[in-house]
C-alpha cells in the first residue's frame, strides 16, 4: 500500500514540478547564452512569459490532424516521464518516448510544407542517430544494477557511473541531439538562425505550439534526470551530487550550443554512431567480460 502511495506521489510531483524545473533550466539557458554572447539577454523568467503568451494566442493550424498529433506528443511525453519517476522499467520509458516523438514527427509530416517535411526527415535521422545510445544507456544500467527498474537503480551502494563512464559520456553526446542544441539541431532549433525557417515545428503555431513546448519541457527534465540517475545511490546525499552533475552537464550543453556551428546530417549520424560504438559499446563489452569473469 505504502508503495502505491509513494508511486502516486512521485507521479503527481513530476507532473506539477517538472515544468518549474524545466523553466528554471530554460531560463538558465537563456541567461548563460546571453552572457556567452555578450549581450544583455532576456530576464530569467522569459521562457515562462513566452509560454503564457503562446497559450493566449489563437491556434492556427494547417489541417485537422495536427492538434491531435501534437497533443499525442505531449501526453505521451508526460506519460513516459511518469513511468520513469514512478520507478518503472527504463527501457519501457525509452520506448514510450520514441512513441511520443513519432507523434511529433507525424504532426510535422501532416503539414505537407517543404520546411516541415524537411524537418521531419531530419528528425527521423536524429532519432536513428540517438536510438542505439539510449538503448545502450538502459542496458548499461541493467548491467550494473541487475535491473531495468528505476526503483532498483536508485537503490545501489555504488553509483552507476563508476562502472559505466563510457555509457555516461555517450549519453551526454546524444543529449546534444535530444536537447536540440547546435551542432546537432538539424530538425529544428531554439535559435532563429535555422536555414529551413523553423523546420519540424514550422506549421505549428499559437497555443498548439504552446502544448508542444510544454511537452518538450517535460522531456528536458526527464533527460536531465537520467544524467542524475548515473550518480544516485541509497545515500540521500547522492541526490545532491546528481542534481549538481545535471546542472554542470547542462551548462556544458549550453557552451557547446554556442561554440559549434551546425553540421551536416552525415556528420551527425556517423559521429553519434561512432561515439556510441566506441564509448558505450566498449563499456558494455568490458562489463560483459567482467560479468563472465564473475567480478
Amino acid at each position: 500500500m505504502n508503495e502505491i502511495v509513494m508511486t502516486v506521489i512521485a507521479i503527481v510531483a513530476f507532473v506539477i514540478f517538472a515544468p518549474i524545473v524545466g523553466f528554471f533550466l530554460e531560463g538558465y539557458d537563456r541567461v548563460v547564452s546571453a552572457k556567452l554572447q555578450r549581450r544583455q539577454g532576456p530576464p530569467f523568467l522569459q521562457p515562462v512569459y513566452d509560454l503564457i503568451k503562446l497559450f493566449e494566442k489563437q491556434a492556427i493550424v494547417v489541417n485537422n490532424f495536427e492538434t491531435a498529433l501534437v497533443l499525442g506528443f505531449t501526453i505521451f511525453t508526460i506519460f513516459s516521464g511518469c513511468i520513469f519517476f514512478a520507478g518503472g522499467d527504463i527501457l519501457l520509458v525509452f520506448f514510450a518516448f520514441s512513441l511520443a516523438d513519432m507523434f511529433l514527427v507525424l504532426a510535422a509530416s501532416s503539414a505537407n510544407s517543404p520546411y516541415s517535411s524537411l524537418g521531419s526527415q531530419r528528425e527521423f535521422i536524429q532519432m536513428m542517430a540517438y536510438e542505439p545510445m539510449t538503448l545502450l544507456t538502459a542496458i548499461g544500467f541493467y548491467m550494473v544494477c541487475g535491473s531495468f527498474n528505476v526503483s532498483d537503480i536508485i537503490n545501489q551502494d555504488v553509483p552507476a557511473i563508476v562502472r559505466t563512464p563510457g555509457v555516461f559520456l555517450g549519453y551526454c553526446f546524444i543529449l546534444i541531439i535530444k536537447l536540440r542544441k547546435s551542432p546537432f539541431d538539424l530538425s529544428t532549433s531554439h535559435h532563429a538562425h535555422q536555414e529551413m525557417v523553423k523546420g519540424l515545428t514550422q506549421d505549428i503555431a499559437g497555443n498548439v505550439l504552446g502544448i508542444l513546448e510544454l511537452g518538450e519541457i517535460y522531456e528536458e527534465v526527464f533527460l536531465m534526470a537520467i544524467v542524475a540517475l548515473f550518480f544516485i545511490t541509497k545515500n540521500p546525499l547522492s541526490y545532491v551530487v546528481g542534481v549538481a552533475a545535471s546542472l554542470i552537464i547542462f551548462f556544458i550543453m549550453i557552451v557547446i550550443d554556442n561554440v559549434f556551428p551546425r553540421v551536416k546530417w552525415e556528420n551527425m549520424l556517423i559521429s553519434s554512431w561512432g561515439v556510441t560504438l566506441a564509448l558505450a559499446g566498449s563499456n558494455f563489452l568490458i562489463l560483459t567480460m567482467l560479468k563472465i569473469a564473475g567480478i
Binding site: 489541417n63 499525442g72 506519460f79 512513441l99 510535422a108 527521423f124 532519432m127
Partner: protein
C-alpha cells in the same frame, strides 16, 4: 486426430478442385467457401489438440504403427519425391538451368535410397502436436485462409491491369492451397523424412508461384529461389542421413531430446540450420526473397509472412535447445543478427513498397533466427512471439500494398503521399500494420524487448549491438513511410473505392488480429509458449515480461485507441483558424503549388529521404552478402570440423 487428416486432405481437395474449375465464378466460390471451411477446421483442430494435450503439460505424439495406411502414405511420399524431382528436371531443361537438376538430385536421391533400401528408421514417431504446433496451425490456417480469400479480388484486378500476363488464376490459387497443405504437413510431422518431403514441396511451389507471370525476370528469379532452396534442402538431407546412420533415429523430437553432450550433435544441427537459412532468406541467401516480389501480391503475402519463410525459423525454434553454447548456436546468432542489421540498412534506400517489405521481412527473420540461436528459453520465447506478430502484421502490410497498387496503379511509397486523404480507411489499416511492426506498445517491439533482455543475459555483446543499431534503422524506414501516409493534401479528393469488399473484410480481420494479439500476448505466452518451453528446455520458464510492464503497455494501448476520439472531439469543438502550409509566402493558392522566381506557378513535390549514396543497394548489398557468406562458410567448417575431431 482425425480432424488433422480431414484438414489436410480437405485443403488438398480444394487445391485440386480449384485447379479444375476454369469458370471464374465457380472458382472464386470454391476458394471463398473452401477457405472459410478450412479456417473453421483449423480452429477446431487446434481447440481439440489443445484440449487433448492438456493445459500446460505435454504434447501429443503419434507413432502411427506400421499399418497399411502409413505404408501407403510412405509410398505416396516416395512417389511424390520422384515426381518433384522429375518436375524440376523438366522445367530446368526447358529453361536451360542444368544446375537445378543436380541440386535436386543430391537432395532427393539419398533420402529415396534410404527409404527404398529399408535403411530408414522404423517405429519412429510420425507426427507431433504440441503448443508450438498449435500456434503455427493458427498462423498458417488463419492468415493463409484470409490471403486465399483476398486473392479472389486481387487476381481479378491484377489480370485486368496486366493484360500481358497469361490468365491462369486457377493454377495460382490451386498452388496457394497446395502450399498450405504442405505447410500443415511440415509443421505436424515429426519424422524428418516426411518433413523433408513437405519442405521440398514448399520450395517447388514457391518456385512455381514466383514464375507465375512467365516473364523473363520472373523465370530468372524463380530459378534463383529454386536453387537456393534446393541447396538448403541438401543440408536437410545431410542431417537426415547423419541422424539415421549415427543415431539410428529419424525423429526430430528424439534428436532434440538427445543430450547436448552427445558426440557430433552439432553436425545435424548445423546442417538443419543451414537449410533454415535458405528457407528463411537469411544472408547470403536473401536475394531469392527480393526476386520473389515479381509474383502477384497474394503469393508474396503468403510466402513471406505466414508460411514459407516461417518454415525455416520454425525449424530453428524447434532445434533451439540444441544450440545452447555451441558453434551451431554461434553461427545461427551471428548470421541472424547480422542479417537483421544489414537488411534494415538496405531497406532505408528503397522506395518501392514491396521491396521495403521484402527487406524488412529478411531483417525480422534475422531477428527471429538470432533469438532461436541463443538457445535460452527467454530468447526462444521472443522468437515465437516475433514469429506470430510478424506473420500477422506483415501479411496485412502486403495485402495493403497490393490493394493500393490495384487502386492507384503504383506501389511506390512516394506515391502514397497523402493516403490519409485519398484513401482514409486504407491509411488507417496501414498505420495499424506499420505500428505493429516497430512501435511501442505494439507486438514486435514487445518481442524485441524480450529478445534484448535475453541477449544481455546470455552475454552476447555482438547481438546486442546488432539489435540496438538494427532497431534504430528499422524505426527510420518505417517512420518515414508512416510520415508519407499522414501528409494532408489540401483540396485533394478521396479516391473512388474500387477495392473489392472481400479484400476489405480480409484486411479488417487482419487488423483486428494485430490489435488482439497486442492485447492478449501475455496470455498466449502463459497458455501456449511457456509450458512448451519449460518442457523443451527442461527448466521452469516463468513470465518473460513483468506484469507491471504489461499493465503500463496496456494503458498505452488504450491511450492510443483513444487518440482518434480525442481528434474527433477537437475537430467538433474547433476554435482554430485554418491556414495554408508555409511556403515562404510563395503559395500559389494552395499548399501544393508555389510561385517561382519568374512568376510562373510550379507544383511542389515533397520526397522522403532515401540516402542512396550512404545506404544504397549498390553500396552495401554485395559487401553484406560476402560477409555473411564468409560467416556461414567459416562457422559451418568450424562447427562440423570441430565435431568430427
Amino acid at each position: 486426430m482425425p480432424l488433422l487428416f480431414i484438414l489436410f486432405f480437405f485443403t488438398l481437395l480444394i487445391s485440386v478442385s480449384v485447379y479444375f474449375s476454369r469458370s471464374d465464378a465457380l472458382r472464386e466460390g470454391i476458394v471463398t467457401v473452401g477457405s472459410i471451411v478450412m479456417m473453421v477446421l483449423d480452429v477446431a483442430f487446434c481447440a481439440w489438440a489443445f484440449g487433448a494435450a492438456g493445459y500446460g503439460d505435454g504434447y501429443l505424439s503419434y507413432f502411427l504403427p506400421e499399418t497399411a495406411a502409413v505404408n501407403a502414405f510412405n509410398h505416396v511420399i516416395m512417389a511424390g519425391e520422384i515426381f518433384l524431382f522429375l518436375l524440376i528436371t523438366v522445367l530446368s531443361i526447358k529453361h536451360g538451368k542444368w544446375y537445378c537438376i543436380l541440386l535436386s538430385f543430391i537432395g532427393t536421391a539419398p533420402v529415396l535410397w534410404l527409404d527404398l533400401t529399408g535403411r530408414a528408421v522404423e517405429n519412429a514417431p510420425m507426427l507431433k502436436i504440441d503448443s508450438l504446433t498449435i500456434l503455427m496451425f493458427l498462423v498458417v490456417g488463419l492468415v493463409g485462409g484470409l490471403i486465399c480469400i483476398y486473392s479472389n479480388g486481387y487476381l481479378h484486378d491484377y489480370h485486368h491491369h496486366h493484360t500481358d500476363v497469361e490468365k491462369r488464376p486457377w493454377f495460382f490459387q490451386s498452388m496457394l492451397f497446395l502450399f498450405l497443405t504442405a505447410m500443415y504437413g511440415l509443421i505436424s510431422s515429426d519424422n524428418m523424412s516426411w518433413m523433408f518431403f513437405f519442405w521440398e514441396i514448399t520450395s517447388t511451389i514457391s518456385f512455381l508461384l514466383i514464375g507465375y507471370t512467365r516473364k523473363e525476370e520472373a523465370v530468372t528469379n524463380s530459378f534463383r529461389a529454386l536453387w537456393m532452396n534446393l541447396l538448403g534442402g541438401f543440408g536437410f538431407t545431410v542431417a537426415i542421413l547423419y541422424s539415421a546412420f549415427v543415431y539410428q533415429n529419424g525423429s526430430l523430437m528424439e534428436l532434440i531430446s538427445m543430450s547436448e553432450a552427445k558426440a557430433g550433435i552439432v553436425i545435424p544441427v548445423a546442417c538443419l540450420a543451414f537449410a533454415a537459412f535458405t528457407k528463411s532468406a537469411q544472408m547470403p541467401f536473401s536475394r531469392w526473397l527480393l526476386g520473389a516480389m515479381v509474383a502477384p501480391t497474394p503469393s508474396s503475402a503468403l510466402l513471406h509472412s505466414a508460411t514459407m519463410v516461417k518454415a525455416g525459423v520454425y525449424l530453428l525454434i524447434r532445434i533451439s535447445p540444441l544450440m545452447t553454447g555451441n558453434l551451431a548456436g554461434v553461427m545461427v546468432t551471428t548470421i541472424g543478427g547480422f542479417t537483421f542489421f544489414a537488411a534494415s540498412l538496405l531497406a532505408i534506400s528503397q522506395s518501392d513498397g514491396k521491396k521495403v517489405l521484402a527487406y524488412s521481412t529478411i531483417s525480422n527473420l534475422g531477428l527471429i533466427t538470432a533469438c532461436s540461436g541463443v538457445g535460452e528459453p527467454a530468447a526462444t520465447w521472443a522468437a515465437i512471439m516475433l514469429l506470430l506478430f510478424h506473420a500477422v502484421s506483415k501479411s496485412l502490410m502486403f495485402l495493403c500494398v497490393g490493394a493500393v497498387e490495384n487502386a492507384t496503379g503504383s506501389r511506390d511509397i512516394e506515391d502514397m503521399h497523402g493516403l490519409i486523404v485519398k484513401m482514409p480507411k486504407m491509411a488507417f489499416v496501414m498505420t495499424v500494420a506499420i505500428c505493429g511492426m516497430f512501435l511501442a506498445p505494439f507486438g514486435m517491439l514487445v518481442a524485441k524487448w524480450a529478445a534484448l533482455k535475453a541477449y544481455i543475459d546470455s552475454n552476447n555483446v555482438l547481438l546486442v549491438i546488432f539489435l540496438v543499431f538494427g532497431s534504430a534503422t528499422t524505426m527510420f524506414y518505417w517512420g518515414k513511410w508512416l510520415g508519407k501516409l499522414f501528409a494532408v493534401l489540401h483540396q485533394s479528393e478521396t479516391l473512388r473505392d474500387i477495392i473489392h469488399k472481400s479484400e476489405w473484410y480480409v484486411m479488417y480481420m487482419l487488423t483486428a488480429l494485430v490489435i488482439t494479439l497486442c492485447a492478449t500476448f501475455p496470455f498466449l505466452g502463459q497458455i501456449f509458449i511457456q509450458p512448451m518451453l519449460s518442457m523443451e528446455f527442461g527448466v521452469q520458464v516463468g513470465q518473460i515480461i513483468s506484469s507491471d510492464d504489461v499493465r503500463v503497455m496496456l494503458m498505452m494501448l488504450i491511450m492510443i485507441a483513444l487518440m482518434p476520439v480525442l481528434g474527433l472531439f477537437l475537430l467538433l469543438n474547433r476554435k482554430e483558424k485554418m491556414t495554408m502550409s508555409y511556403m515562404a509566402g510563395a503559395n500559389a493558392g494552395d499548399d501544393r503549388h508555389f510561385v517561382d522566381a519568374f512568376g510562373g506557378i510550379r507544383p511542389s513535390y515533397l520526397s522522403n529521404w532515401y540516402m542512396d549514396e550512404m545506404f544504397g543497394e549498390k553500396k552495401i548489398l554485395i559487401p553484406s552478402l560476402c560477409v555473411a557468406a564468409a560467416f556461414v562458410v567459416v562457422l559451418m567448417i568450424l562447427a562440423i570440423g570441430g565435431a568430427i575431431r
